[in-house]
Every structure is written in C-alpha cells, then in structure tokens.
C-alpha cells in the first residue's frame, strides 16, 4: 500500500523507469503478497470442499489482489497500470474474447444433455469452469479487473471534468488561442473583429461566455464530458446492483412445479402449489375454398377458434400448431399457510413477501408425457439500482456521442490582431470544416465592414 501511495503522489514520467524504493517497502509488498496468497489458497480449499456458500466472487477478488501485490513486490508501478486507460481498454477486448467461450460450449444444466458429458474431456473442461464460464472464478476475476480499472480511471478523471464543466476557461492567454488545433489570426481586426466573431459563433449555435479580460469563449455540448463520466459510472451501478442482488437476495431459475404438488422454494420459507398448467396453441387452418386463416386452440385442449371469428365448420384441416402462451394457476404458502393465489403467465408474475414468481417455461414428464410448469422465483433487492444504471447508460451515451463538446475562443491580441482558435475531442474533421466555415464568414464580414468604412 505504501509503495502504491508513493507512486500516486510522485509519478515518474518515463515509462519503465526504475523506482528508487526503500528495501523496507519491497519487503512490505512481499509480505502482503505472501499473506494474500496464503489466504487465497486457504479459502480455495474451503470452497472446493463444498461449504454450500458460493464465494467465487470473493475468491476472484482475492485472486486479483494477489496478482496486484505480486506485481507491486516485483517493482511494477501497479497503481499507474490501473489508472492508465491502457489496462481498461485492453480488458474490454479481453473480456469480449473470453465471453465467446461460453457461447460455444453448453452452459449450466445443458451440458448433461450434450455429448461432452460422457467424453474424457468433461472433467478437464469442468475443472476450468468452462461449463459455467460467466460465473467462473477466472471470468469474474477478469470482469472485476475491468471494473476496478474503470472505477480508478473515472475517479482519476472526475475532478478535472467537473472543474472544466463548471469553471469554464474563459480568460485565456494569446498563446493558448493561437496554439489550438484549429486556429487563425486576423491582423488588424481589433475589437470590431471580436464583435463580429461573437455574431458568427452565435449563428453557429455556440453559447457565449465573456471573460474579464475581454476574451470570448463559445461552447457547445457543455455536458458531453460529464455524460461520458455518467456513462462509465452507470456500468458500476449495474455491476454493484447485480452483485448486491445476488449476495443479499436469491434466485432460482428452474423451480419445477408438477400439478397438484406442494414444492418448497429453495432459500425461502415459501411453498408453491400448482393447481393446473395449461398451454394455448396458435396455428393455421385450411378453409374449404383453399385460403388459410389463423386459428387458436384454447387452453382446455379441445376448443379451436378462428382468429377472425369466422365459422369453424369451414375449416377442413388445422396444422402448424405451436404453443403461444402458457399459464400456471399457483398458490403460494408461507410456513404452510396459504398467502396468495393467482394465474401467472409470461410477463405477468405473482409477488409475495418480496419474492416474485415468474412463468418461465415448461418440460414434459418422462413417464406420463404431461407438460410440467417451470417457474423462476427470485428476490433482487437491488433491482432499482440496475434499472437506474440501465437508463442512465442509455441517456448518457446519447449525450456523450450525439452532442459532442466543441470549444472555441476569440481574443484581441496585444498587437491588435484578432485570434480565433478551437478544439473538440470527437469528430475532428467535422469541427475543422465548421471552423473553416466560421473563419470564412468572419473574413467576409470584416471585408464588408472595411468596404463600408472606406
């Protein structure tokens, strides 16, 4: 920790330069690394002996800390690595590539139906967590590294961005304007030129700010940099919401509820009883005159209706029937006392005691062939955080990329010439063209004025 702080306060400019660190600091880092590694191994042993508590996320976090402390002990400037965007951007690509693995191999319960289940590779793949990639220790470690580096990068940028957004740089020096990526000087234009520049900027939808020294700043997309911060922060909100929900709530995505049986909901004091499970079908009907209509078979399994409300006796054949919706008539019990009864379907869940019962899908009973309902039951206490994060994500990225920031300054220099210069961080060519248009307009206005005077 000491070593990291020292790095943060006095960064060394040249990359790869050796730090003049005291042997005591190195010793400290080595001891921390050893302690963390021991803790990591100890917890791993407990975890793989099956304690019943899923602590892969904890193990992943400690894994990262071990790597960080080992790197620190080896003399790497870890803090710099973490706040440099290089790591964050590299991790973006790494997580993207590693995510592919999980789409190529069957995940979760699916593996039991695949050929891999009986193959010799099964145990090897399984030990690497390849059948549950997105919850595996190594994937979580990569994800957490990305998030940690994201948090540090944002934290690093927040003060400057806030300062730049709310304390505008209106009063500037001549050289500052002249050295902008886009800059032009108008000799002899003077204060009159400055007035014209204000008009031109305003015509191009820039908001004007005037400094005490007489310099003018035109600003567009003032909040784009702040929106960029908000966009990246919302990613953290979502991750926090998901982690907190998974740790403090519960989720079971395959509660199988056969008709007429009371089933315990795992992790709760709740029981659920399914009175009946019904499927409604939709398909096509062939009419006597040869045309085709859409038909619906109701959940009773007998009645077939035409969607257009027409006469069923005209239909000679019904085909292509596919399940269109399914319903479970369920009752929820708490400590064996009935609490609430409701027919649920996809998009229409039942809520009891913070737990929500969703109609998920169905399977078939292997012996009788009867359909059996499958429910998802969960309690996600921090769902609101995820929703806020998601909505912020959408709004912020639109502001950040659709309303990019453009800044432009005009100032009368010491020798009476008008200096104009500006910059953007986004579409440089678009800005260059706009700047060229503005300076051309300014030139034209100045010439007209000179003619009117002369």
């Amino acid at each position: 920790m000491n070593a990291e702080k020292a790095n943060a306060i006095s960064p060394v400019k040249e990359p790869g330069a050796q730090l003049g660190r005291k042997p005591a600091d190195v010793m400290f880092a080595v001891i921390i690394a050893l302690a963390l590694a021991t803790l990591d191994i100890y917890l791993s042993i407990i975890y793989y002996r099956n304690t019943g508590y899923d602590m892969r996320w904890l193990l992943a976090t400690i894994d990262i800390m071990v790597v960080i402390s080992v790197l620190a002990a080896a003399g790497k400037r870890v803090f710099h690595m973490l706040i440099s965007m290089k790591l964050a951007v590299t991790m973006l690509f790494v997580v993207a590539i590693m995510s592919i693995i999980g789409t190529l191999l069957p995940q979760g319960a699916d593996v039991q139906q695949s050929d891999l289940y009986n193959s010799s590779l099964y145990h090897f793949y399984n030990s690497l967590g390849l059948f549950d990639v997105y919850h595996s220790r190594w994937f979580l470690a990569l994800l957490f590294t990305l998030i940690a580096s994201l948090i540090l990068c944002i934290g690093n940028r927040v003060p400057t961005t806030v300062k730049k957004t709310f304390r505008l740089r209106v009063d500037v020096k001549d050289a500052f304007v002249a050295n902008q990526p886009q800059a032009q000087a108008f000799p002899g234009a003077g204060e009159r030129g400055l007035e014209e520049a204000r008009r031109v900027f305003r015509a191009h939808h820039y908001r004007l700010h005037t400094g005490s020294s007489g310099s003018v700043m035109g600003l567009r997309g003032r909040f784009a940099p702040l929106a960029s911060i908000a966009f990246h922060s919302s990613f953290i909100l979502i991750a926090a919401g998901a982690l907190l929900s998974s740790q403090l709530g519960f989720s079971d995505d395959s509660v199988i509820v056969p008709n007429g049986q009371v089933v315990n909901v795992p992790n709760t004091q709740l029981q659920v009883m399914n009175y009946s499970f019904k499927i409604e079908y939709e398909g096509k009907g062939l009419l006597k005159n040869g045309s085709i209509v859409r038909v619906r078979e109701l959940a009773d399994g007998k009645t077939v209706q035409r969607e257009d409300g027409g006469d069923m006796s005209q239909v000679t054949q019904v085909y292509d029937l596919a399940p269109s919706s399914f319903f479970s008539d369920i009752e929820v019990y708490k400590n064996n006392q009935p609490v609430k009864r409701q027919t649920i379907r996809e998009g229409d869940p039942l809520e009891v005691d913070g737990a929500t019962f969703y109609q998920k899908s169905y399977t078939y009973d292997p012996s009788s062939g009867q359909p059996i309902s499958i429910l998802e039951v969960n309690h996600k206490p921090f769902k609101t955080l995820i929703y806020i994060g998601g909505i912020l994500l959408m709004l912020a990225i639109m502001v950040s990329l659709y309303l990019p920031q453009r800044r432009i300054w005009a100032k009368v220099g010491s020798d009476g010439q008008l200096l104009v210069g500006g910059r953007t961080s986004r579409s440089k060519l678009g800005f260059r063209r706009e700047f060229e248009r503005m300076t051309k307009e300014l030139q034209l206005r100045l010439r007209q004025e000179a003619r009117a005077d002369g």
């Binding site: 995510s99 039991q112 996809e346 399977t363 998802e376 969960n378 994500l393 990329l401 659709y402």
Partner: protein
C-alpha cells in the same frame, strides 16, 4: 391479401434488379439519363416494397420485425429509403451501383426465407420488444456504413500509394468473405435443420443431418467461386490510377467510418438495455448469458474498444478502418450466425 402481398414483393424485387443494373451502367458510362431512369424505377420499387410490408403488418397484426423475412425485408426497405433521401440531397448517384444491388440481394434472401405471416406469441408482441429489435437493427445499419467507409479507406490508401496489387487483393478477399458468408447462410436456409427442443430446459436448438452439411458446404463453395470471379473483376476495374478521384478523400472516409460507429454505438446500447428490461418483465431475469445476448455484449465491448482506441489512444486511419471491418464480422455473427450455429432463447425469433 397474401397473394397481393407476394405480387408486390416480386415486383419490388424485379424493379430493384433492373434499377441496380442501370445504376451500374451509369457508373460505367456517366449517362445522366440512365441515373434518372434508375432513380424513377427505384421509387416505384420502393412504393411496392412499402405496400408489401404494410400488407404484411395488417395481415399478421404486428410490426414486420418478427421473423427473418420481415426483418431482412425491412432492412432493405430502410436501406433504399436512406439512399433515396441521400440522393435527393447530395450528388451520390454512383453509390446507387452499390446500394441498390445490396438491397436486391437482401430482399431476395428475405423472399427465400418467407414462410408467410406467422402468429406471434403474446409475450413477444410488446412495445419494449419492438423498440429493442428495431433499434438494434438500426445500429447494425450504421455499423455496416462504418464497415463500407473503412473498406474504401484501405482501398484509397493502397491506390494513393500506388499499391495496385494490394487493392486488388483487398477486393478479392472482401468479395470472397461476403460470398462465403452469403453461401453459408443460404446453405443453412436450404438445409432447413429440424427444430428440436431440449426436454429438460425447454430451449430450442437445430439438428443437422449429414445431407444438410453437404447442402451447406455446396452452396458455400458456389458462393465463394462466384464471389472470387466478381471480386477479381471489380478489383481489376478499381485498381487503376484514375479510380482515386472516384473515391472520397482519406480524411472523409475515416470520418464517415467513425461517425457510423458513433451513431450506431448508442443505438446498440439502447437495444441491449431495452432487451434486458423486457426480459426482466417477462421472465424475471434481465440477463441470462444466452448466446444472442452474449454476442451482442461482445459486439458492444468491441465497438466500445474501437471508440476508446480512437478517442483516448488517438488511433486513426488504417487501424480504425481495420477495427471497423472486423466489427461488421462480429455484428453479422450476432445478427445471423448465432441463430443458425448456437442455441438459446432467442431462437424462437430468428431476427
């Protein structure tokens, strides 16, 4: 209604074919009258296309976005609309030689896939879902634009450096890749694998027989050969000194490519978030790592990477162009490849 719809769809296809041919003729001869005729035909075709899609909407009772035919047909409709508007504003008739044949190919693939209007499960007929699908499709369109500009950036750079062999190779490789992809895709459609359902999880997956594999490989090979010939012809035509003037400058191509990503990325973000909200409302799980979800996340991370390499590392030009080209491969896999090659919840809606 269904018959009238297919008449309109076929007239659309024919007018796009003829119009596209005349646009190519215009590119070769610079005959203004040809461009005007092609444009008029295209407007006629666009009208028929609109009628066909409108009838499909009325007939099925939901917006035309629920299966491959509908989404592809709507995609080519959007492409033609976008082009027609641009043509009225800017003198870009030469682009018609690329855009209209592309619209024709997409529309013909759509027609091959057409299985008539299908009823939609009530859960899929929801406002969130229509926003989710249409916005995701729009973002794919912008990424395709970024790809096109990126590809021509590479070509223009080779031409300016007088590396004509490289330009020719780029054309051949690009055509070969597109031909192989289209061939594979048509192969998968032709093979029409049995739709099997996993009894334990209720998930759908495709089952291929050995006959299916031959069909797929056969069409992929045919697509590759045709594309190699076309790519060689196009490359030979373009790999000459005079072609430099026909292409926009490197700066402009680089900028257009960036703008495509900058416009598409927020849309993809909205597409993913609305999809997650909808899934949460329907099944109580906002993210379930299903292949389509995961691949859209991969696409999102990839273009996020593009933006960072550009805006914070300062990459420009060739490197950015390369990333935007690879980006479209990821997009196409997310949009089409996942449906045929990987299993998951999204397989009920092949869009």
């Amino acid at each position: 209604m269904v018959k009238l719809e297919s008449i309109f769809a076929i007239v659309t296809l024919l007018t796009y074919l003829v119009s596209g041919g005349i646009y190519i003729w215009y590119l070769v001869t610079s005959n203004r009258r040809a461009a005007r005729l092609a444009s008029m035909l295209l407007v006629l075709g666009f009208f028929c296309h609109t009628m066909a899609l409108g009838m499909r909407w009325i007939d099925s009772g939901h917006p035309p976005l629920s299966d491959s035919y509908e989404s592809l047909s709507l995609f080519s409709w959007g492409l033609v609309l976008f082009y027609l508007i641009s043509e009225r504003k800017y003198p870009i008739q030469a682009a018609g030689a690329v855009v209209v044949p592309t619209a024709f190919i997409i529309q013909s693939i759509a027609l091959v896939l057409n299985e008539g209007p299908e009823p939609l499960r009530p859960i899929l007929n929801s406002g969130w879902l229509w926003i989710h699908v249409s916005i995701a499709m729009l973002s794919y369109g912008f990424f395709a634009l970024a790809f096109g500009a990126g590809f021509f950036y590479l070509i223009q750079e080779y031409l300016l450096k007088k590396q004509y062999q490289h330009a020719l190779a780029a054309f051949v490789i690009m055509f070969a890749a597109i031909g192989l992809a289209v061939g594979l895709w048509l192969g998968f459609i032709w093979a029409h694998p049995a739709d099997a359902v996993n009894q334990q999880t209720g998930e759908h997956f495709n089952q291929y027989s050995s006959g299916d594999i031959y069909k797929i490989l056969g069409l992929a090979g045919a697509g590759l050969v045709i594309a190699l010939i076309l790519g060689f012809a196009a490359g030979k035509g373009a790999s000459r000194p005079g072609f430099v003037k026909r292409l926009p400058s490197l700066d402009v191509l680089d900028e257009v490519s960036y703008r495509g990503v900058a416009l598409g990325f927020p849309l993809l973000t909205i597409g993913i978030v609305t999809g997650a909200i909808w899934a949460d409302k329907a099944w109580g799980a906002w993210w379930s790592w299903d292949p389509k979800e995961t691949w859209s996340l991969i696409t999102w991370l990839f273009y996020g990477g593009y933006l960072h390499t550009r805006l914070t590392w300062g990459w420009r030009g060739r490197h950015s162009a390369m990333i935007s080209i690879i980006g479209l491969v990821v997009v196409l896999f997310t949009y089409i490849g996942v449906n045929y090659l990987l299993a998951g919840y999204h397989s009920y809606a092949k869009v």
